[in-house]
Amino acid sequence: MKKNGLWLKIGILVVALIGLFVINLYLDSYKVKVINLCAIYVILGLSMNLINGFTGLFSLGHAGFMAIGAYTVAILTMPLEAKTMNYYMKPMVPFLLNLNLPFIFALLIGGLMAALFGFLIGAPVLKLTDDYLAIATLGFSEIIRIVFINLQSITNGSLGLKAIPQMTNEFIAGKLGLASRTNLLWAWGIAILTIIFMQFLMKGSYGKAFKAIREDEIAARSMGINLFKHKVMSFTIGSFLAGIGGGLLAVHLGTIDPALFKFALTFNILLIVVLGGMGNIYGTVISAIVITVAMEALRFLDGSMNFGFFTTPALPGLRMVVFSLALMVVVIFKRDGFIKETLEKVRGRYAKNQ
């Protein structure tokens, strides 16, 4: 029985990979971009779910860690010419100017940098609970952003970075005589790895400890779970994945600036996690894909609409009104998100809902 499940999963994986490969060659480049963004949001959603959903630490600092990952990847992969073009206001520090690494190493370093900052920030801040933690992590994310605005010789300040090298499938598409476009296999490959990693993590003893902390800290502590160690661990892994997601986002967009990493970005990910269900891996994956596609598909809401006999003026903001409303409706009427883990099974009849 268990073996069948495993084969089924491997089967789905193979089909998904072949599907991606075909999509990557034949779909138009806009759609490929949207699918690529889905993968990035899957990674980001899972990383936030690990911290907020599974471990019950309400962190709002995601945008900051993403910024670290994104800037690391951008700075390490941009060639010398692109750098000199970008840094016209204030020259870049010479040490970084000539540094140029292959994408995969840059991405890893981006993730590790985010993890390092996650560790440094988490170690003192994770002593706080609930809303204090939320506001402190949000504060750190803002501090990171403000530092990035001011460190002109490293990050180019509020001008941002342009012409970040894209990951295209030039090689294969060129051989088949097709137009090259964003290479989906990077983002989706990493997204799939993240899903598998999360499953193993949550099945293992660490995952169980995380969940125990979420359910009841005091009970977990009296069971001998080292609260601090596990919290910092969850936070650091989450930051690592956020850094990876940020790095992929930088490459996906090709342009980044500090204004991108405002709280609104964290809000998008929170939306995904809440709608998918706190502490639910597949829920997060599905809601990441649905929300990313919906965010693109509902762009028409911001523009003017033509009902045949009557044209509405352009209504910028309407799209985000819809999404904020969706979040609130889900939180108020369906507390556990659309796709919920059957918590009743885990909790006893008398378990409290705190």
Binding site: A134, L270, L318, V321
Partner: protein, 299 residues
Amino acid sequence: MNLSIQEFLQHMTNGISLGSLYALIAIGYTMVYGILRLINFAHGDIFMLGTYLTFYGIIFTPIPWYIIFILAPALTGLLGLILEKLAYRPLRESPRITVLISAIGASFLLQNLGILVFGGRPKAFPTPTILETVLKIGGVSVAIVNFVIPIVTVILLIGLNYFIQKTKTGMAMRALSKDYETASLMGIDINGIISITFFIGSFLAAMGGIMWGVKYPQLMPHMGVLPGLKCFIAAVIGGIGNITGAVLGGFILGLGEILIIAFLPTLTGYRDAFAFILLIIILLFKPTGLMGEKVAEKV
């Protein structure tokens, strides 16, 4: 570092008026947190709504500005009350995180509604001319708003203090924030008191918003985000739940921000980071804030 005494006084008046504004907005956070244990993330956006309501009141109605300056905050107070009814009341028994998410959602909803209804382009606040006058006292030139703001703040604070200390409703409010469950068993109308709390908090935020508009006359739908966060920080610094603490925190933050720029102009770019750094220092060394009481962990 070579600051003349005039410049110093100028910075001080500036810092005090900014501090008063922070204090007014921080009170709303601290009152709500004291009773519901909730960070009302949408408070900054209520502040924004108050400013916009004043803007439209002055532009589109013939009512004189000094009446609008009372009417608009009252209207904003009602909006705050409605916000609580719709977004927070259904979640009264839910885990705190759920309510917090609802608050974040409400904040984004209000911001985007702001963009939708008011437009994303900045608007100029129609400052009454009398408030724009600049006074010159012994080489220090100070806009009259910088005097009006602290005076209005002090008047509002005295009124609030009277309300909380001397009236029955105020007593009920204090009882609720001391011990929610016991107070509710004593026959206090919880919903009514919470509504009044939201009304007062939003009213003060709108008052702050109006004076903010006079001081920094540019309205944007996102204008409430940063002041909102900073004022929450002010409330935490003072000890959340404690009104005197919120006022103290507001002044520390306002004066600190201005004086850091005055003495260390190289750090101007980090001005907005100051509040967050202060927050983290406070949380690490005195998590209950300067005037907060220590709460023992209950099992």
